[in-house]
């Protein structure tokens, strides 16, 4: 049986204004099953947001895309906008980082969601109103509050409203791009709890894109770690933390402060490589504490290193006793 959502070898190139191209996403493959919570973590410029825009068919015209995005086994990008549009919001819904600020300020929250329902021909009039009430309640907003304007809501409430709107068409996948980044820790906890409940209660699959490793560790079942446009490691979050198979994953965890952790976090020296030129060898080699001669010449490919786990690092070929 095929997965709910499958990305196969997704590549995205951007044309640069002064000529040349930037290879922002480099052969990203991932799968998402029904009700599963998958994290996509990476630092700025790692390609995680571009991956998401790519799979939703929302890239600007300066971008070129290759690869396939399969929804229930059907390639939704095959026919461009024509074939994606019927699925966007209907099957694949999105909550962006600034979503709470994307609400129309001169329209009540309810009427904006009604509009979305009518636009997709899902409900009209009284029926739509009733559905909006349900949606608001499912995200923890009292029904009657829908008659208010966005500015009468706090940041957390607006983010809930944005999630309610994303759920309007009953999607099977919710893509959330940094959904809690601008929020305070208590409100973040409320939103994470909500996302958790939505996955559990409605079997919604979640693709959570964030730079925040601990958020993924708390909420997701599996995660892909992105670096320089590619996924360098993928697996269950517990195993990524306790037994990382790529040095970047290990160093990223070591750079992240933990409330009760021992010792002081250590930063990763250097900067990511430029993506507007072809890379020789491993993109992480200049910052890696374990690189060896092979890393300079040969680019490691993402391959299975254990059941349900993959990593792109030559160290996985070295017998344990030698390493």
């Amino acid at each position: 049986m095929s997965s709910l959502l499958e990305l196969e070898e997704l590549n995205v190139w951007f044309d640069l204004p002064r000529g040349g191209t930037l290879h922002a996403v480099q052969g990203v493959s991932l799968t998402l099953d029904r009700g599963e919570r998958l994290g996509l973590v990476g630092e700025s410029g790692s390609g995680k947001s571009t991956t998401v825009l790519g799979l939703l068919g929302l890239l600007p015209p300066t971008a070129t895309l290759s690869g396939r995005v399969l929804l229930n086994g059907v390639d939704i990008l095959a026919g461009g906008e024509e074939t994606v549009r019927p699925h966007r919001w209907v099957d694949l819904a999105i909550v962006f980082q600034g979503a709470m600020n994307a609400l129309n300020p001169v329209q009540t929250v309810s009427s904006q969601i009604v509009e979305a329902l009518e636009l997709h021909g899902l409900a009209t009039g009284r029926q739509a109103k009733a559905r909006v009430g349900e949606l608001l309640e499912s995200v923890g907003i009292p029904r009657d509050r829908g008659d208010r304007f966005p500015h009468e809501f706090s940041g957390g409430m607006r983010q809930r409203a944005a999630i309610a709107m994303a759920l309007a068409c009953n999607p099977s996948v919710l893509v959330a791009d940094e959904p809690t980044t601008a929020l305070d820790v208590m409100v973040q906890a409320q939103i994470l709890e909500l996302l958790d409940a939505l996955c559990r209660d409605f079997g919604l699959a979640l693709l959570l894109v964030t730079h925040d490793l601990p958020v993924v560790a708390q909420l997701c079942d599996r995660a892909g770690v992105m670096y320089a446009g590619e996924i360098v490691e993928q697996g269950p979050v517990e195993e990524l933390f306790h037994d990382p198979r790529h040095p970047y994953t290990r160093l990223l965890f070591a750079a992240t402060p933990d409330l009760y952790g021992e010792g002081v976090p250590v930063s990763i020296p250097g900067t990511p490589p430029r993506l507007d030129r072809t890379l020789a060898g491993c993109p992480f080699q200049t910052r890696c504490d374990r690189s060896f001669s092979r890393c300079k010449d040969e680019r490691p490919l993402l391959r299975e290193v254990a059941a349900g786990r993959s990593a792109a690092c030559h160290l996985n070929d070295v017998p344990a006793e030698v390493a």
Partner: protein
């Protein structure tokens, strides 16, 4: 209060007036006040890093700006190195300003894009008319070396757009330490930076602290405070509700707000999924501060007395210097 107090703040109060608008003014509606800082006391010693933590709107940034006399307090006392600076006029503050410096959150905005690294770091020296040209050049080099932008010659003529986020923040820090200050206020110094470079900037602040600087760090990130601060002060709605040694505040919190806040901090280890004690709603605004304990409407353990008694920050917990403002603590 520590005896080597470099900065001592007592009962600080800062209000903002809410604009009434034309109608409100004509109708003589009562002036509404935002009680942003509502009776805050703390101290920062030499070689000490105090983290002021809290959610947005709790008054932490206002506190920091008032301490530097960038805002004027309504009441309270600020002493810097034993001198009361609460009402010092600007002319008298000027010589003190070089001894108290600030680093801002966003190194993409705090640096002038048209100035080279050299000019940026040299500017404070020029403003304070410090040293000859040669001496200034030496001080700039020295500051760059201290923030680990080495060799300095490699960076002197660069512009901000040629630097990474971490390098920019290091330049901002170099400009703030070039005058040899005693106190550094760091307002969310790493929140705009990538995780992989944050630790480096925080370690740099730590080395400056070790060299004797007093640092007041404003942050919303409890994990960072736990790992880098000597002491932590937790603010809620204009007050410090708990304050003490970082280890004690994190491992043995006394105030229900601190406990709740700590319980929702995501952990690195997926096996340590927190039993989050999620408070409902958000902090009320500082115009209508609840009577009694200001936290009681959201407090999971509040009793009837909490509606009446406004608790003072008092000694609680086992660690010396650990205080909390809760009638139920201890």
């Amino acid at each position: 209060m520590s005896s080597n107090g470099l900065l001592a703040v007592e009962d600080l109060v800062v209000h903002y007036a809410v604009p009434r608008g034309l109608v409100g003014t004509v109708a003589r509606r009562p002036q509404k006040l935002v009680r942003a800082v509502d009776g805050v006391s703390f101290s920062v010693g030499r070689g000490e890093l105090l983290a002021l933590v809290g959610e947005s709107g709790c008054g932490k940034t206002t506190t920091a700006q008032t301490v530097l006399r960038l805002l004027d307090p309504v009441a309270g006392r600020i002493s810097f190195d034993g001198e009361d600076i609460t009402t010092l006029p600007n002319s008298a503050l000027r010589p003190l300003r070089r001894r108290m410096q600030i680093i801002y959150q966003d190194p993409y905005e705090s640096l002038d894009p048209r100035l080279t690294v050299k000019s940026t770091v040299e500017e404070p020296l020029l403003i304070h008319r410090s040293g000859s040209k040669r001496e200034r050049a030496e001080l700039v080099r020295d500051a760059l070396a201290r923030v680990e932008l080495t060799p300095p010659d490699l960076f002197l003529e660069r512009f901000p757009h040629e630097l990474s986020g971490g390098q920019r923040q290091r330049v901002a820090i170099a400009a703030s330490i070039v005058l040899g200050p005693d106190l550094l206020v760091a307002d969310e110094p790493v929140s705009m930076l990538d995780v992989s470079v944050r630790a480096g900037v925080l370690r740099l602040l730590d080395s400056l602290r070790e060299a004797g600087l007093g640092i007041l760090m404003i942050t919303h990130d409890l994990s960072t405070a736990a790992r880098f601060a000597d002491r932590i002060a937790v603010m809620y709605l204009g007050r410090i509700v708990e304050e003490g040694p970082a280890e004690a505040v994190v491992r043995d919190p006394q105030h229900p707000y601190t406990k709740a806040l700590l319980s929702v901090v995501p952990r690195r280890d997926p096996r340590e999924r927190s039993r989050a004690q999620i408070l409902t709603g958000e902090a009320p605004d500082a115009i209508r501060i609840p009577r009694g304990c200001r936290f009681h409407p959201r407090c999971p353990v509040a009793i009837a007395d909490c509606r009446e008694v406004d608790p003072a920050l008092e000694r609680h917990g086992a660690a010396p210097g650990h205080r909390a403002a809760c009638i139920l603590a201890g």
